[in-house]
Amino acid sequence: MILIRLFWEFFKTGLFAVGGGMATLPFLYDMSARTGWFTEAKLADMIAVSESTPGPIGINMATYVGFETAGVPGAVIATLGLVCPSIIIILMIARVLKQFRDSKTVDAVFYGLRPCSIALIAAAGLLVARITFLNMDALAGGFVLLNLFRWKEVLLAAVLLVMTRAVRPLKKLHPIVFIALSALVGILAGF
């Protein structure tokens, strides 16, 4: 039953993804590799759509994967699966909020979890970068370093990096602006 599997996969994601929306990315990447429900390239598209539509990004990604896998029922079930562990855990914590905040054990656990969470996001991001910037087919016909990179993409990334990190008034803009800009460049420059 695909819906039960969807629920279970997203329940696990909701239970173990710590640190907000992007933390679900490594779990979705792992899901794509194991189930074949969607490709890595599709995953990058889903992130883009999730960033540029209303709603928390983690929820949007779950809904999108669910929809791609099993239509509207899939979208609903995947989202419910993702929020289920949160509801259970938070309702348990809500009654003892103060003890939870001051607990040394909780603090120690999260001291270990935070580096883990960002390492997982970074690794998943690098795998998305690999399919975006590298021409894996180029290796088949003899190794030529120049052909390995997709130069148009690399150039666009460099421009976007400068815009989002170095140029002061632009840095503050919402990601949706840069996503829209990239789409426009992609169409005009024939990516």
């Binding site: 490594p26 928390p56 929820i59 949160s86 938070i90 969470s117 990334a157």
Partner: protein, 179 residues
């Protein structure tokens, strides 16, 4: 009646949040603190802080907290359903449309370039999280181990999360932490 108000208020928060995380604070502040008076700014910050260090999406965790405070267990559930409701509707529509147009050359070009932007956004997100996450040598070692292993081996993220939670406990108890 209270449950309906909760649902609608959080659906509104869901519609107005782009990207989640910190983008949600000013919207929650206006709707939950100022308009409904369900929580004070300080309480909101508390929920937020705890929401960040519990599993799951921060927006959902915060909604569950406030819903529980306003109307007990049913409130927690209803507020959460409210905050995810717009996402389910909007994304289903967009995904449906995109599936039909995915083969158009212009759409393909647009998404090829958008993927580049997504990489930059993920990179920026990692840099932003780095400061709060990796604070000493032991933290850096944990980061490197998880990063390299997850990049080159096919290990479920669940395994890393469980092992790192245990490592956090052990490193703190043995006094390695902070060096």
């Amino acid at each position: 009646m209270k449950l309906l108000t909760l649902f609608l208020s959080f659906a509104k928060v869901g519609v107005m949040t782009f990207g989640g995380g910190y983008a949600m604070i000013p919207i929650l502040e206006r709707e939950i603190v100022e308009r409904q008076g369900w929580a004070s700014s300080e309480e909101l910050m508390d929920y937020y802080a705890v929401g960040q260090c519990t599993p799951g999406v921060i927006a959902v965790n915060t909604a569950t907290f406030i819903g529980y405070k306003v109307a007990g267990y049913p409130g927690g559930v209803v507020a959460t359903l409210g905050v995810v409701f717009p996402s389910v509707v909007i994304i289903s529509i967009i995904a449906g449309i995109l599936t039909n147009f995915a083969e158009l050359p212009a759409v393909k070009s647009a998404f090829t370039a958008i993927r580049v932007c997504v990489c930059v956004l993920i990179f920026n997100a990692v840099l932003k999280l780095w400061k709060g996450a990796v604070k000493d040598k032991a933290g850096l070692v944990l980061f490197l181990i998880v990063f390299v292993l997850s990049l080159f081996f096919d290990i479920s993220p669940v395994v890393f999360v469980v092992l790192c939670a245990v490592s956090g406990l052990v490193l703190t108890k043995t006094g390695v932490r902070g060096k």
